[in-house]
């Protein structure tokens, strides 16, 4: 079983790196839209806030589970990498967790606590979302910079922090375009149009900085013939951006036929950007220090997890799909009965 696909010390770490990548990517897209909705809170009035939360209420919990899966995979498949990364990122991780706690409980408290506290919990929802998004972006920046803590790297991390927050609000706005109608959809289209610029700046900064920081990454992208094979990545990203921009120019439309286009194109953009980053860093899991092969757990343990994952993941995808189907269409108020 172990040497089914050749050397288990090669294919198992690779498989788990792929799983980890998928978990992070799914997390960024899914929690991206519900964190993004939180980030857009200050621009909405009270009735709009209720509808915005109703559009993410049934999903946010499962969305955040992908973060637990991602950190869990890093923890169980690459323990030394987990230790190094989380040791450097100790403070931003803690602050991100506080942010996630605040916004997570605000979902419940804002409607269950006495009405006079609602503005406070609304603020906690926005603030928690912002803090979580900024911390995640900050950690992303430090990771790209090779987890070194110098003023320049911290400055770059601050830039990616802002960019990721704007990026999340773009995903959130596109989600709202998809799930809303009427005036709120009109507003969401406007938010999304503004958000595009943040995404372009953020992705541009990362695309320019990564090869500059690491000669290895530079070589991976800018030597022939690899450059030709890789060309579709930036080109397709550009195509996604154009579709996003054009669709937002046309929306909202009264037939609601194309409301899903912005969300799908922004998701495509995410997938492409993430694939590019994964390509840049492979085979390293701690940039320039530790490869996935050096950091992986024992094959005996990984295979146990893999077998379970292969059975369970399709089921997870199936019932997640059921949930999105049940709560599909334009969001309406959530009720317990």
């Amino acid at each position: 079983m172990l040497d089914l696909f050749g050397d288990p010390n090669i294919w198992l770490p690779l498989t788990f790196a792929a799983l980890l990548g998928v978990a992070i990517l799914v997390y960024v897209v899914l929690d991206g839209f519900d964190l993004g909705v939180g980030l857009l809170f200050p621009f909405a009035d009270d009735a709009e806030k209720d509808r915005m939360v109703a559009s993410i209420g049934p999903f946010w919990d499962a969305n955040e589970t992908w973060l637990v899966l991602a950190i869990g995979l890093l923890l169980v498949a690459f323990p030394p990498a987990n230790s190094i990364i989380l040791n450097v990122l100790y403070l931003p991780v803690a602050l991100m967790l506080v942010g996630l706690i605040l916004r997570g409980v605000a979902f419940e408290f804002r409607v269950k606590a006495p009405a006079r506290w609602k503005p406070l919990w609304n603020f906690a929802f926005f603030w928690g979302s912002l803090q979580a998004a900024l911390c995640q972006g900050f950690m992303l920046g430090l990771y790209i910079m090779g987890l070194k803590v110098t003023p320049v790297h911290l400055g770059f991390a601050c830039l990616t922090a802002g960019a990721l927050a704007v990026g999340y609000s773009l995903i959130g706005a596109c989600w709202l375009v998809f799930k809303m109608d009427g005036h709120l959809q009109f507003k969401a289209v406007r938010w999304a149009r503004h958000g595009i610029w943040g995404a372009v700046i953020g992705m541009g900064a990362i695309s320019i900085a990564s090869p500059l920081v690491s000669p290895r990454i530079f070589e991976k992208w800018f030597t022939l013939p690899d450059m030709v094979w890789l060309a579709p990545l930036p080109l397709m990203s550009l195509a996604c951006l154009v579709v996003l921009w054009l669709s937002l120019r046309e929306l909202p439309r009264s037939d609601h036929k194309w409301d899903w286009v912005p969300f799908i194109s922004v998701t495509g953009l995410n997938v492409l950007a993430f694939s590019g980053m994964a390509y840049s860093f492979y085979p390293y899991i701690v940039p320039e220090k530790l490869t996935i092969y050096e950091a992986a757990s024992a094959p005996e343990s990984l295979i146990i997890i893999l077998v379970g994952a292969l059975f369970v993941l399709p089921v997870i995808i199936a019932y997640s799909a059921l949930s999105y189907y049940v709560f599909g269409g334009k969001a309406t108020a959530l009720r317990y009965d």
Partner: protein
């Protein structure tokens, strides 16, 4: 203070805060399924209303459990890198299975359970309730398997200081696992039933006389009264299992310094670790021997046996284990008294019928309100007993706690600890006050719109 102690306090604070919510919800999920099935079977609106009130409590509790659980998953890496580096090959798959088989299941069907009643067919809503309950149970199962393995490791071998799995069935069915799971699930059932008792008593005091309230109160009192003797038996069996596999923990729980026969059961004492003796002992002669060996002349292990030749202490700190054990048992006795008194008075024929909540004397109703949180106290005290009782080991006989802690600046750990503590205090206050607010609102009768045409409440 050093990073070790601060990291321990931080982990303790995180996990103590976290356990409050699953300890309610693991059992409350099954209670909700019961309410739902009763409603399906009888069509009695009281069960339906009970479901609709308690599902709100469940949702609130679930939210707090989820976010505090996410914090837990990061703690291993941020503060305890040595844990995964040493025993990751065993802990890893167990944690992964928890995420894969439990977390996603709960999270995906929670949406349908909470907000799906009018969107999906009735059977699917009942199924969603069942799957959420099943998910919470799976989650409890896997994490308790791991915890039990840390207490009584089995099915592995050490190579170059790293644990490798040799037999997964031994790892999963390690010696303390069945006892710990039974004890914890019953603890959850007690915590949930007393929370229902407490909030129902509060609603009663506030003048609520609805059929729903009468039904749930009767249900919860009965549930607690039936399960508490079972819990006492399970706890006793768990204790005997600990005596076999972790005698040093039992010695600390009993406050017994020297291995001896005819050891008394101490009702009170102040263990003095410097002098290695107890102050102000009050005990029942032969009590500990009788409980642990079922024989007055039975031998009870003593703490002095767990000092290595070089003077290293290999037993846990005595006073915290000694006292938290007594708090757990004392709270359990109170819970027994209150639930049995409840059944006694409910059953007593006064006026027209048995099982009428009017039969409860006023003082008992007032006692029931604070007892609503007795499950938390007993559960926390029990966890402190078993986890502090595991020290100085992180994994018994394999890995010491101080060898697993990460290299962090104490000021950094202190700052995050203070942030977490502040958040936890605020959230705990908000949680408890919202519970009473929801109960008060229900007592005023404005919580359940009976008519399906009632105005939609946004996301409530």
């Amino acid at each position: 203070m050093d990073a070790l102690l601060l990291s321990r306090i931080q982990f303790g604070a995180n996990i103590s805060f976290h356990i409050l919510f699953p300890s309610i919800n693991v059992a409350l999920a099954w209670v909700l399924l019961f309410f739902k099935l009763r409603y399906n079977a009888t069509g009695n609106e009281a069960w339906h209303d009970a479901y609709r009130f308690w599902v709100k409590v469940f949702a609130l509790t679930f939210g707090l459990g989820v976010v505090s659980g996410i914090t837990m998953s990061f703690q291993f890496g941020t503060n305890w890198p040595g844990f995964m580096e040493t025993v990751g090959n065993i802990a890893g798959p167990l944690l992964a299975y928890e995420v894969l088989t439990a977390f996603f299941l709960e999270a995906a069907f929670l949406g349908i359970m909470l907000f799906g009643m009018s969107r999906v067919p009735g059977w699917l809503h009942t199924l969603a309730t069942f799957l959420v309950a099943f998910g919470t149970l799976m989650s409890a199962f896997w994490i308790l398997v791991l915890n039990s393995w840390m207490q009584t490791p089995a099915g592995f071998e050490m190579r170059d200081g790293v644990a490798f799995a040799t037999d997964w069935s031994q790892i999963i069915f390690n010696p303390s696992m069945p006892y710990r799971i039974a004890h914890m699930l019953l603890a959850s059932a007690m915590t949930a039933s007393f929370l229902i008792i407490g909030l129902s008593a509060y609603r009663w005091i506030k003048g609520d006389r609805s059929a729903e309230l009468r039904t749930t109160l009767r249900f919860a009192v009965t549930m607690a009264a039936v399960l508490i003797p079972v819990q006492i038996i399970a706890g006793d069996q768990h204790g005997l299992n600990t005596l076999e596999h972790q005698p040093q923990k039992i010695a600390a729980m009993e406050g017994n310094w020297e291995t001896a026969t005819h050891v008394p059961m101490l009702l009170f004492a102040i263990p003095d670790e410097k002098e290695r003796r107890n102050l102000f002992e009050i005990g029942i002669p032969d009590g500990a021997s009788l409980i642990l060996r079922h024989d007055p002349a039975g031998e009870v292990p003593g703490l002095d046996d767990y000092i290595a030749e070089d003077g290293t202490v290999l037993h846990p700190p005595v006073a915290p284990v000694f006292f938290s054990f007594r708090i757990m048992v004392g709270t359990g006795v109170l819970m027994l008294a209150v639930s049995w008194a409840g059944v006694f008075f409910l059953r007593r024929k006064r006026g027209e019928t048995r099982w009428h909540a009017e039969n409860l004397p006023g003082w008992l109703v007032y006692v029931m309100v604070p007892m609503g949180f007795s499950g938390w106290l007993a559960t926390l005290a029990g966890w402190y007993t078993t986890e502090i009782g595991r020290q100085p080991w992180l994994v018994d006989g394999v890995l010491k706690t101080h060898d697993a802690v990460g290299e962090l600046a104490p000021t950094m750990v202190l700052s995050t600890l203070l942030i977490y503590l502040a958040i936890y205090v605020i959230l705990l206050g908000a949680y408890v006050s919202v519970l009473f607010y929801l109960a008060g609102k229900a007592a005023r009768g404005d919580h359940v719109p009976h008519s399906p045409k009632a105005a939609p409440l946004p996301a409530e």
